[in-house]
């Protein structure tokens, strides 16, 4: 039985795909057999972040419409053995997805995998609802700004009403808060919402906090999930997040402003 985790946010551009890629990679690095599915049909990005865009032949829509088998569409990650990617279609739109089709794909993956990570599109429409419908757990990605927090709040409402677990009255989806692009420096100066305020409004458990980092942009452009960059703060923060998802107790890091010493100021400090 696989655990189905949806990575969602409501708002676009907060780091859903980056987080889905980094978390799926982290789970696979810990020996968990993991599949990561791009639900953003029409605006596919996950393959770029995972660095497998040149190996895409078939996609999720092909599988759902019976034009290809699931094994033909799944791309094996080059860096980690246990990781597979199911890309989205770039030429179709989200209407090509059906609830039954998605269910069949997830049921098939369920037998062979430990974790299925669903990378949700932005918004609250069909694509996003299909990505969350079958989930067991949800990672709600939020930036420290008011509009992102409000959209996350909206998504949390949908998670508790428009999902299979909610409709069947089963145990509710386990909700995790993942704060990305956190900059303690700018929180101190009042430019960004602080951690406590976000947690108070959303009232769900924090699973991770990813600092604003150059390593993330670099990783995206290179097509190497940032978890592989274990020297970077963001890479370490995603590893911590994965550990917490697997119910390990890891103390929170990178949430406090660190004053730079003389040496690190002179030499540019540790990699950010």
């Amino acid at each position: 039985m696989a655990k189905i985790i949806v990575v969602t946010s409501g708002k676009g551009g907060v780091g859903k795909t980056t987080s889905a890629a980094a978390i799926a990679t982290g789970l696979a690095l810990r020996g968990q057999k993991t599949a990561v599915i791009d639900f953003d049909v029409g605006l596919r990005n996950l393959d770029l972040i995972m660095g497998c865009e040149r190996r895409v032949v078939y996609d999720l829509v092909n599988v759902i419409q019976g034009e290809a088998g699931l094994n033909q569409a799944l791309i094996r990650d080059k860096r980690v053995d246990n990781l597979h990617i199911l890309p989205a279609s770039q030429t179709r739109d989200k209407d090509a997805l059906t609830l039954e089709g998605v269910e069949t794909v997830l049921n098939t993956l369920n037998k062979d995998f430990d974790y299925i990570v669903c990378d949700s599109p932005a918004g609250i429409e069909r694509g996003a609802q299909l990505a969350m419908y079958f989930a067991d757990e949800a990672i709600v990605v939020t930036n420290p700004e008011v509009s992102s927090v409000r959209d996350s709040d909206r998504i949390l409402g949908l998670l508790s009403s428009k999902t299979r677990r909610a409709e069947r009255g089963e145990e509710p989806i386990k909700e995790h808060l993942l704060i990305t692009r956190y900059n303690p420096n700018r929180v101190d100066s009042g430019d960004m919402l602080n951690l406590e305020d976000i947690q108070e409004i959303l009232a769900i458990k924090l699973v991770g906090l990813i600092p604003e980092s150059e390593a993330v942009l670099r990783a995206s452009n290179q097509g190497v999930p940032v978890t592989h960059d274990d020297q970077s703060d963001a890479g370490q923060a995603y590893s911590d997040t994965v550990a917490r998802l697997m119910e390990e107790d890891v103390p929170l890091r990178f949430h406090q402003y660190q004053k730079k010493g003389l040496l690190s100021r002179m030499f540019g400090g540790n990699r950010r």
Partner: protein, 248 residues
Amino acid sequence: MSLKVDRDGMAFTFKGGMLPMTVMELTSADPERIREQLAGKLSQSPAFFQHTPVVLSVEQLDEPHLALERICAVCRAHKLLPVAVRGGTDPVKQSSWALGLGWFPPQEAGRPRTLESVPTADEPVEEAPVVDEPAPAAGAVGRIYRGTVRSGQQVTAPEGDLVVVGAVNAGAEVLAGGSVHVYGALRGRALAGIHGDAGAAIFCRELRAELLSVAGNYKRLEDIDPRLLGTGVQVRLDHDQLGIAPLD
């Protein structure tokens, strides 16, 4: 003969609508006094007087005959557009119609209950069925909702009080026929007395509300005294004015 209605051939459709409307409650029938007061108001907030439609309420006047035409002229001169008259005697009704204005019956008749006859917000909560499960409990007496009411969600207790054990977030809406109690931060919209119960009230532990309304009288966040924000308050109607007072 075809019963089909040709949509392109239709000139109009009738639709029910609820529009916000300014009621001008007259306490004097003297057009000169009205003119003076309007002139003062106009200089205070010129933005309000932009051909704003108003309903002239004459319920508080005890005069069988009104200089309605002159009052309307004074209003128009100050860029208010009288569209209807509320209350008054039969001659007032007739002259409203003669002036091309609508006429509404006095409001008091429509109000179901007055302040005194209503059991106030303090008592009915205990009578409400207490339900342990997180799912909201609906009942004629009231409703208890446990958890955060999130953006885009609407929780309603059509009859009786609504108790929210948790926060009401920005973009969420809580409504009750009776009073609204929020044991947490109230950041969204709260509407009490949605059927016109003027004795209803709103209670919350931390006031951050986008909108507060009791029996249709409302205040926006902008209208709320900033000193009250973040504190525990009760909100109730006092002579058609929404009053917000600290709980402690």
